[in-house]
Symmetry: C2
């Protein structure tokens, strides 16, 4: 299982946003949508052994479960519609109990810390950071939980919470990447472990 927790600092917490302005008024929801696409899509297939958790402004988390997903398309707009649809049911999310809002998509009334604490039970938290150890020098973690941030840096509080979980702090390369591109590279790093044997 590979999991990705993506922090959307400016992401919407109500469904009153336009699908026509994801990069503007919708608080860079375009980045989060591309993260979902990068995490799940292979050419003509979905990676089933993946979960993605989008943390929306530290208020709600929308989770995508690879084995259950239906109706996921690779474009930003249709993924944003799934997020909007999830937010329409936010009143149904009571306590920390997730509400399934479409097949394989659920919403939980949880901010970043509660989400990471929950997800970390099933894997090894890995912080992706440009100052981390080169990923090529490290054995791939078992059941990795990659934590990424949108177009903003992690806050000091977020970093402290990640570090309270994280064993490894890894860098994917010398260039700082967008979160969705980092997910693609992380997948490739895991896919090609031992690639010379193929």
């Amino acid at each position: 299982m590979r999991q990705f927790v993506v922090i959307g600092h400016d992401a919407p917490t109500t469904p009153e946003f336009s699908l026509d302005d994801l990069a503007g008024a919708a608080g860079r929801l375009d980045v989060l949508c591309r993260c979902v696409t990068s995490a799940f899509f292979l050419s003509h297939a979905i990676r089933e052994d993946v979960r993605v958790h989008l943390v929306l402004a530290d208020t709600y988390t929308v989770s995508f479960e690879g084995t259950e997903l239906r109706r996921l398309n690779p474009d930003e707009r249709s993924t944003a519609a799934l997020v909007r649809n999830a937010l329409e049911e936010r009143e149904e999310a009571i306590g920390h109990v997730p509400v399934e809002t479409s097949p394989g998509v659920s919403l939980t009334r949880c901010g970043f810390e509660a989400t990471l604490d929950d997800v970390a039970r099933d894997g090894t938290v890995v912080q992706l950071h440009e100052d981390g150890d080169p990923v090529v020098d490290v054995a791939p973690p078992v059941d990795p939980v990659f934590v990424l941030s949108d177009h903003h840096d992690f806050t000091a509080e977020e970093t402290a919470h990640v570090e309270s979980h994280a064993g490894d702090r890894l860098s994917l390369g010398p260039e700082p990447l967008h979160a969705d591109h980092a997910i693609t590279v992380a997948h490739n790093y895991l896919d090609t472990d031992g690639f010379e044997r193929y």
Copy 2:
């Protein structure tokens, strides 16, 4: 210089398409737009040493030049608007002379073969293919020109033309990737060549 030629088999050749349906009526223009984003964007910076050529239904080619680009944003919709804007000036493109349609974006009345023949003069053509040699076993090419296809496979004619140029046929990993994800991995492969020295 790193160049990417992306074939959009179903892409529009007129500007009469809706930005609201890039993955449908606009012939999977969403894939081509994400290719542009993957090729140019670093976190908070543009890769200047990059050119991208989107081949639209073997009729026009829209080229993006990293050193000249302005007004490029990472979301699909705004990139699609640049392509639509380019197509609005298609009557100005006479012969094989490019027309600049916005800063760093130009349109040429060229299909795939003419575009590749032109681009190949400035670099080494590399075919990305799941049956190619593992990229990790090969020294990075000088001034690579990566040729990719949208959600369709290359046609027999396209493959023959690429092979008439291509020195290397490389595979980026054991999983077949979307074109935009392949661009991200190709960049990382080149970025991290000698990464252990950083």
